[in-house]
Symmetry: C2
Subunit: 335 residues, 2 copies
């Protein structure tokens, strides 16, 4: 069933408020989730609400906690999320990294003791407002296996770059280092459909198309072989070790430990183009799109450049409403 975006947003915030979260953080968490749905990434959307509500009930997310600054300096600050919803801390960190960069040319904010932050590109607003380019790295709990490995000993760690371009919505690239997002596998489990080959290994390390295996000790292979492993290690080091003092094995997976703070961590780095003598990023983004487009001898495929899928999904959602799974519609009081 589809429901108008505004209704889903308000009902989601309402469900969080009913669970004891004050209005401002509830609105933030709801906005980040609905933004993912609007961009077509339902795995990071309101589908997560039941998980978050369960974690609030069991203590993994403290709905009233307020993040606090361990170090509030320029150009490096460190935020303790204090067990609050990850979205609340991440939004603060995005704002401060952009504000520092606006002043100093570069701004870095590390976030530790945090919870699930959802889709990284959802934190683009402060970068859009300031014209600062934002690099965001997230350390996740273990779900990914290295090339040829069987056990999930690394995170499905994510990296995102937000590139403002004036009045237009910022351009972003946003991806995780697993062959696929864990949420997409769980979405398949909810819908009772098999996943494509290459997405999943079962608990014995054998290839599997049964999405239920993921949360029964299964693993997602890392993308891109040894280069994907190298990128994932970079994120473990930058977002995890430096940013949070932890690696993926120190993160409490949110479904496995609903009563514990996840202790995941993030690194936000803002770069102010004008500090490098660059007035606008828009012409470079146009050049890059042309470069990719021109590589196809017989013309590009329908979707060839990041953000095209997201723009399409948003248009559809705004026109037809958001598609909500029955389980979630029930939680939202929509059926």
């Amino acid at each position: 069933m589809r429901y108008p975006v505004g209704v889903v947003l308000e009902r989601t915030a309402g469900a969080l408020r009913a669970a004891g979260m004050p209005p401002e953080p509830a609105a933030t968490v709801a906005e980040v989730m609905i933004d993912a749905d609007l961009r077509g990434h339902h795995s990071h959307g309101v589908l997560l609400l039941p998980v978050y509500l369960e974690r609030i009930r069991q203590g993994g997310i403290d709905p009233c906690a307020e993040p606090f600054w361990i170090r509030e300096e320029t150009p490096v600050s460190v935020l303790d999320a204090n067990g609050a919803a990850g979205q609340v801390a991440a939004r603060l960190a995005a704002e401060r990294s952009a504000a520092i960069a606006l002043q100093a040319g570069v701004g870095v904010v590390a976030v530790r003791h945090s919870n699930h932050v959802g889709m990284l590109a959802a934190y683009r607003a402060p970068f859009e407002r300031t014209g600062v380019v934002g690099l965001i790295l997230n350390l996740a709990g273990t779900s990914v296996a290295p090339p040829g490995g069987q056990r999930p000993t690394m995170g499905n760690n994510a990296v995102c770059l937000v590139v403002p371009r004036g009045e237009q919505e910022a351009f972003s690239v946003d991806f995780a280092t697993g062959a696929v997002a864990c949420g997409k596998i769980r979405q398949a489990a909810l819908q009772g459909t098999a996943v494509p080959e290459g997405w999943l290994l079962d608990r014995d390390g054998a290839p599997s198309t049964d999405p239920v295996q993921l949360d029964e000790g299964g693993a997602v292979p890392v993308f891109g072989g040894h280069k994907g492993l190298a990128l994932s290690l970079m994120i473990e080091i930058l977002a995890g070790a430096i940013g949070g003092g932890v690696t993926s094995r120190g993160v409490n997976r949110q479904r496995l430990w609903p009563d514990r703070v996840m202790d995941c961590s993030q690194l936000f780095v803002g770069f102010l183009p004008s500090a490098f003598g660059i007035a606008s990023m828009a012409p470079f983004l146009e050049e890059l799109e042309a470069a990719v487009r021109d590589s196809y001898v017989s013309g590009p495929p329908a979707l060839y450049f990041p953000e095209q899928y997201e723009a399409q999904a948003r248009k559809e959602a705004e026109r037809d409403g958001l598609r909500i799974e029955p389980e979630v519609a029930g939680v939202l009081g929509l059926c």
Copy 2:
């Protein structure tokens, strides 16, 4: 034929001095090349010397040019390489980004109007000395095709993370976004051997195993499909657009235009762990190695973690000498 490391190093610097380069930059360029050979990456090693010498003769590299600071501030500085050898500018940038980070917690140096810089991990020394973690991004000329594309419209852009760990040599990950390094294909061309499938497309976009096709309009496919494309775009934006005001299409490929400065660019970002409350990176690196090792049910393969291959190659080179191609041995006066 194999020659002692010290002899190759001195002969390489000597060849550059004979071409008109002063002793200090000649030593820098030679050290960076030989470091790649020592680590087993001959594609970035002394094999490049004939290309560099030709570029000096034709004006693409100005052997006497001195890079100058466009902006020399904390925490962001911008260096104009001024058409000097890329290694000279890159070493300056590495030193300054580490020095700024030591003072401010983070340090950023952009390098523009530069030439080929070789293997990024070769710039680890200033990070090792200061304990600063270094992120290095390089924008290359066009040689890579996006997923499913035929024409080389993107760079084989590289990313490297240097992680100091006390007395031990720094740990590093260092890779480019093409399925393979262009230099490895050119090495095969020199040796007259075919390259594996998946490494190369010919000028018409058809898969090829003939390494000669690379410099006749061929392309290397990007690694890792759309996620590899996303990473490569991130480097185009950070090292290229922000760092140098250019994308890969604005870079003059070094063999194609031996009379022009390449105009490639780099971004060096240093992060001081203690600014984030982290005393040492060593325990995290041990944790990461254990995480990868533990993922293999029947024990890990011989090489499973970055730097293992490089350590092995170095041991071999120091024991047996460096293997030098006959063409290069001639240039070095070694045969």
